[in-house]
Symmetry: C2
Subunit: 300 residues, 2 copies
């Protein structure tokens, strides 16, 4: 069984942990918790032993995590893969309690906000913001704290021996997060994927001259090469007011054709760089020993 | 002198207030403070007396305020103008004190973060997060609180009779925010601007079918019509995973040509709507009685 050491933002049992285990489906995953995304990129960048990172990049309810685009670009690390995860929230506490026993619920502000509707029926419960979903679960277990519940994942309930007292309490079920696997480029792994024709997505970043139609020209060339844009995001360039870096995700079937399209747009771009070439999550296959087996499209 | 009632997020003296006064340069501005952007859009939407709103939409250090795009789209309000403001932070306290007297500094978390470097030299000072920059200044004045300073604007110092004890303490000077003026479309004002050939920018939003090259086609048509893209932002459509609404700012010289270009892209877009047609800030002229006078490009 292959072993992976993966840095995540948050504690064991957080959604980043679930995403890492799901991505490396079948492999043994050791989690390295980080307090911030900044710390994560720093650790992975300075590691010499193949440490990878799992980084949320967009959520279907709140949009892109813009600061992670900037951290990724500045880190010099590569995108090696992606994973899409349906986000579910569970209410958990020390075993033997019911919701009537709960006076306080601790969790990350985002998780609290996403379960707001559920708690309208329980006005006696105080909602308290914490640093991390899984950490809130961990602290309840460590302190043997009764009367307090956490909002976290099923994995966190399992890891910290808590009982789920209300299941799937998120208000909006259309809650998905897309994660990127980041690390130093692994050439041998990349060559293997390329050989097996598995590379079909790329994340690139560039800026265009401040001229009429300059972005359109670049996108038109990509279209002529039958390269599809799946996402486009502009972020301001610090120090050059109202000029932007364009972060673009592109899909393709023919890797050679994709390389040719990059050559074709390069003269029209400034600072073009490839953040990573990888297999799109929706079409992800994982190697299981020698065979290649299809993976579930999106976790449910 | 013309009078404007403008809802802002924050208190009198906040950066939104400065932006409103600068935009309505020469007019009398009455500020309506709101706790949140949600409250602001709600108030302006329900008002029957010409209330306008001033809304930050992007900052050169942190990028777009994505949630404000969604609030704007859902509000049904129009973008009537824009203003770009250089953000400066001042340290202020009750008169007669020096920085050695200050034990605590209160301000909005973003302002505290943007002045972090300055405070490294003063490890005895505790930084305390508050709801609003200007509100922190106001509370010091109202409570006559010594030993506590606020980070806020020069305008806040003036409004709340505080003394600036350290000037321009922001770490990064490339800190600009772009604000949108929002309100119900004022047809007579719009016609006047159109007649004077002042309309040269538009913000539109649309989605494109999930097909190869669909976005490129739309942007190519805009380029053929000599319509320039100044900004592009994609935001996920809730309930349609990994499909996006495209928010695009476009510049043009010929209003008729711009209308023709919209007609040309409409059949290729889904849910195309115009968020507003207005005068770009960099080229902003203001009417001063009968004459039209040029306004400073970007406030300094």
């Amino acid at each position: 069984m292959e072993k992976y050491k993966v840095a995540i933002q948050g504690w064991q049992g957080a959604n980043h942990d679930i995403a890492a285990r799901a991505y490396f489906n079948g492999g043994e995953v050791e989690i390295e918790p980080c307090l911030t995304f900044y710390e994560l990129f720093d650790k992975v960048g300075n590691d010499q032993n193949g440490l990878l990172g799992m980084v949320a990049i967009e959520n279907t309810l709140v949009g892109s995590l813009l600061s992670n685009y900037t951290l990724l670009k500045n880190s010099g690390l590569s995108v090696l893969g992606e994973h899409k995860l349906r986000i579910r929230h569970q209410l958990m506490a020390l075993p033997g309690q019911t919701i009537a026993d709960i006076k306080e619920v601790h969790s990350h502000p985002m998780a609290l906000a996403q379960c707001e509707q559920f708690f309208r029926e329980y006005p006696h419960i105080r909602l308290i913001e914490s640093e991390d979903t899984a950490l809130s679960a961990k602290l309840i277990q460590e302190g043997k704290i009764k009367g307090v519940a956490a909002i976290a994942s099923s994995l966190a309930a399992k890891l910290y021996n808590l009982e789920i007292i209300a299941k799937d309490i998120e208000t909006n079920k259309h809650n998905y997060t897309r994660f990127l696997v980041v690390g130093k480029p692994n050439q041998s792994e990349f060559s293997k994927m390329l050989e097996q024709n598995l590379i079909n997505k790329s994340s690139i970043v560039f800026s265009v001259p401040h001229e009429e139609g300059s972005l359109s020209k670049v996108l038109t060339i990509l279209a002529f090469y039958r390269i599809n844009l799946s996402k486009i995001q502009s972020l301001p360039i610090v120090g050059q007011e109202w000029q932007y870096l364009m972060y673009i995700d592109i899909d393709f079937n023919d890797y050679q054709r994709y390389l040719q399209s990059l050559d074709a747009i390069r003269p029209l771009c400034e600072q073009l760089s490839v953040l990573g070439e990888y297999r799109a999550a929706d079409t992800l296959y994982v190697t299981n020993g020698d065979a290649v087996v299809k993976k579930a499209d999106v976790e449910n």
